[in-house]
């Protein structure tokens, strides 16, 4: 199985790579349409700005290859900004279109709590989840963001409540994503990554 981390300049790519290595999972980096097309599993890491991410994917001509891969059934995992990029639009960059795998908008979290939402928080599970299998209900995950998807319809399987209720884990068919950083979330984060890899068809 050929697992590729989509390389477009995301700061957390090496961390995700290291987390996979710790699980004994081999991955490579994919930065061209051809590399994406020849991958069996894709991971879209992300940290920073929605508009900058989309511009970077567009410059590298990776937007359509990513969408096509998802349409072919290739498992895709989005992490943090990688989750947000799956939506149609974001308050962070009103003029820029996202990957539009989901039609909703990504919203600025209301400033009722301190922002960014930074640190370890718990989840509220609302639907059965592949990625959270074997993870204790009270587990903490590491978040660092000020924007979030407040609604993903049936795809939102776990929420987090901070300033607003937002989608923390998203699963629909072959599309998976977490608003938190599994690669920075200790042993439970490693479990989430290994659940994804197992579901995607590889070894644990």
């Amino acid at each position: 199985m050929n697992i590729a981390l989509v390389e477009y300049g995301a700061g957390n790519l090496p961390s995700v790579e290291r987390a996979l290595t710790r699980l004994g999972v081999e991955s490579r980096r994919a930065s061209t349409p051809e590399a994406l097309a020849s991958s069996d599993v894709l991971i879209l890491p992300g940290v920073g700005h929605f508009g900058a991410l989309m511009h970077s994917l567009t410059e590298r001509s990776l937007v359509n290859p990513l969408r096509n891969a998802v349409a072919r059934g290739v498992p895709l995992l989005g992490i943090c900004l990688g989750l947000q990029a799956m939506f149609a639009t974001s308050d962070e960059a009103p003029g820029d279109a996202g990957l539009s795998l989901f039609p909703q908008n990504v919203s600025a979290l209301p400033p009722t709590g301190r922002l960014p939402h930074m640190g370890w928080n718990q989840l509220r599970r609302v639907r059965p989840s592949t990625m959270l299998e074997g993870v204790p209900d009270d587990a903490y995950f590491y978040f660092a963001h000020s924007y979030a998807a407040l609604d993903a319809g049936e795809a939102g399987v776990a929420l987090c409540d901070y300033s607003a209720s937002f989608v923390a884990v998203l699963e629909q068919g072959n599309v998976f994503a977490t608003q938190f950083h599994p690669e920075k979330s200790g042993p439970v984060g490693a479990r989430v990554l290994s659940n994804f890899v197992r579901r995607a068809g590889g070894k644990q």
Partner: protein, 254 residues
């Protein structure tokens, strides 16, 4: 369900080795950063900070290698800094494996640096570190490792720094640093009231009670300490159990 208060061990380094001193002077060797990082990762640290307190240009490649070695040991977030004055220096530190940067002296000299760093890496990656010392009825910000007074009011500077783009404040009480006499809760609370970003309290950590105080009275979101953890005076698990039993939300591990 609520956001956990973070406990953050800090590795002050000379670029290569962990060092420690009292009130920013009398430094001595306290171990290998990667070995300490590996220990804290297992023991339940919520984040790790690694600082280059020498911050000389000659040592920068050594420090970047230290960040790489530390990051390789961690499955938790890593914050790094010391002498960062440009976007390129910030990028080098993030590329080496840090999730967040601390900026201190250069931001006071050029507050626009915070805006530029936030635009490039996002506010969530920009931590404004402030070294503050009591001066009558307020606190003054110091730079260059606490050696140079700026005349700036630390609370006002924190507020301005956040306006400029900082996504978190790391406030160190120079009066308490290395003294094990408790965090400066008044300073931390003043900063916490002045900004709407998370605040990390530093300087003076001692018993579990001092952490409880800084979370309650100091309104800190996170507390940072060095020698009490390095010297095994305080265990992370034991500290978190103490806080959890007293109603402070913390991430219990193991």
């Amino acid at each position: 369900m609520s956001l956990a208060h973070r406990i953050i061990p800090c590795l002050d380094t000379d670029g290569e080795r962990v060092v420690k001193g009292v009130q920013f002077v009398n430094l001595r060797d306290a171990g290998d950063p990667a070995a300490l990082a590996a220990r804290y990762n297992v023991e339940g640290a919520d984040e790790l900070v690694v600082l280059d307190i020498a911050a000389s240009r000659d040592h920068r490649p050594t420090f970047l290698e230290t960040i790489r070695r530390v990051a390789a040991e961690l499955a938790i977030p890593l914050t790094a800094g010391g002498g960062v004055a440009t976007v390129d220096e910030g990028r080098a530190i993030l590329r080496a494996g840090a999730d967040k940067l601390t900026v201190n002296t250069a931001a006071i000299r050029n507050p626009e640096l915070l805006t530029v760093l936030a635009a490039e890496f996002g506010s969530q990656a920009v931590v404004l570190a402030i070294d503050a010392k009591r001066a009558g009825d307020h606190w003054e910000a110091f730079v260059r490792g606490g050696s140079v007074a700026t005349g700036l009011d630390a609370v006002a500077w924190a507020h301005q720094g956040v306006e400029r783009g900082a996504g978190e404040i790391l406030i160190t009480s120079m009066d308490r640093d290395g003294t094990r006499s408790g965090f400066d809760c008044a300073l931390t609370a003043a900063i916490s009231r002045a900004v709407r970003v998370p605040v990390i309290a530093s300087g003076g950590a001692d018993t579990p009670e001092t952490f409880l105080e800084v979370f309650r009275e100091g309104r800190a979101d996170a507390a940072l300490a060095a020698s009490i953890f390095h010297d095994r005076i305080q265990g992370l698990g034991e500290l978190k159990r103490y806080l959890g039993e007293r109603g402070v939300s913390v991430r219990q591990t193991g």
